[in-house]
Symmetry: C2
Subunit: 207 residues, 2 copies
């Protein structure tokens, strides 16, 4: 790597980011548990030993990638939750947000979908924690939703989990489709959310 410009910390963070970027790109064709340290440094153009200045293993790098990938998703979710749309428009807008996010950060989405159940324990755990936090926020937002008034805490969690899982499932399904299938998948996901929405309206009728 060139030692040409910028302050010390800045240059360090630059190569760190380069390592993350290169890893993310390499992970399009394999899973984290087969990602080699040398492979990453070779793609960046630095010595294998330089890797240790930033991460102590590829699993460690994976955890960093989780924060990067789910950090961007986090803002998207907060936006979707705080917006005050009516029930029907909210579904349409949410799907639109997902589609937009998949188009904007496909590698991030792929990484999360792949490593969520992947072969590296620490990374699985990191993703699990973040997703649990997402579910908590969704549940909290649902508490102030008129369509979920009077629901028990357990039922709110149940619904929040359904939404988070469905979001991830939709995102990774969008990824696996070419651009021509986007609309079809998005439409199906929208109808699925609508079905759930109808179930919500009549949930207290029976239980």
């Amino acid at each position: 790597m060139s030692h040409t410009c910028g302050t010390r910390q800045a240059r360090k963070q630059k190569t760190r980011q380069a390592l993350l970027d290169a890893a993310l790109e390499l992970l399009e064709g394999q899973s984290l548990s087969s990602l080699g340290l040398r492979e990453v440094t070779r793609a960046v153009g630095v010595t294998p030993t330089a890797f240790y200045r930033h991460f102590e293993s590829t699993a460690d790098l994976g955890v960093a990638l989780v924060e990067e990938a789910l950090g961007s998703l986090h803002t998207v979710i907060r936006d979707a939750l705080t917006a005050t749309w009516d029930s029907d428009e909210r579904i349409t807008r949410t799907i639109e947000l997902i589609v937009r996010h998949v188009r904007a950060y496909p590698a991030h989405v792929r990484f999360i979908a792949r490593e969520r159940h992947g072969g590296v324990q620490r990374v699985r755990e990191a993703i699990g924690e973040q997703l649990a936090q997402f579910a908590d926020e969704v549940r909290e937002a649902l508490r102030h939703d008129p369509d979920a008034a009077g629901w028990s805490q357990e039922d709110l969690e149940m619904l929040a989990g359904l939404y988070v899982d469905h979001m991830l499932e939709t995102a990774s399904l969008l990824l696996s489709m070419g651009d021509e299938g986007f609309e079809q998948v998005a439409d199906r996901a929208e109808r699925q959310l609508r079905l759930v929405s109808i179930g919500r309206k009549h949930w207290l009728d029976v239980s």
Copy 2:
């Protein structure tokens, strides 16, 4: 390997199965894309070169594992679909079937959950095809269900997809829990299915 007993074909299938079993066990701690050919043969106790008599690569072995793992799931699904329970009992029984299957074949479930979005394309495709077939069967069963009478083909597919995805999500969530969390997860999954069921009953009211 010992050349001691059985006919020729039988011994060949025996080591083939041993390779599959060993691979499945090794895959509990990593993903397929990092599974080495030598690693598998070492676990079985045969020479690396013997591997080529059965598979041409670990990806090839992975495809074979897909058939084995989803073959057993297939019978479970058929049983659940053909049984004629009423709507409420069907949900309870279905969850019970999933729980039982996860307990009986945890390694199979883990493999499918991990490699469904994993790093090996051919295996992803093989799983995708099988799951699409599952969804087709579910959709066909839904066609004769009174609670889905008058639904369009697209809506039936939408619902079937929701069910298949939810089944897999539930199964892999059960896997990641210790035995003590089983009941809780199963209960939540059951309520989620009930929510969807309520949505089904009122689907035609609005669309």
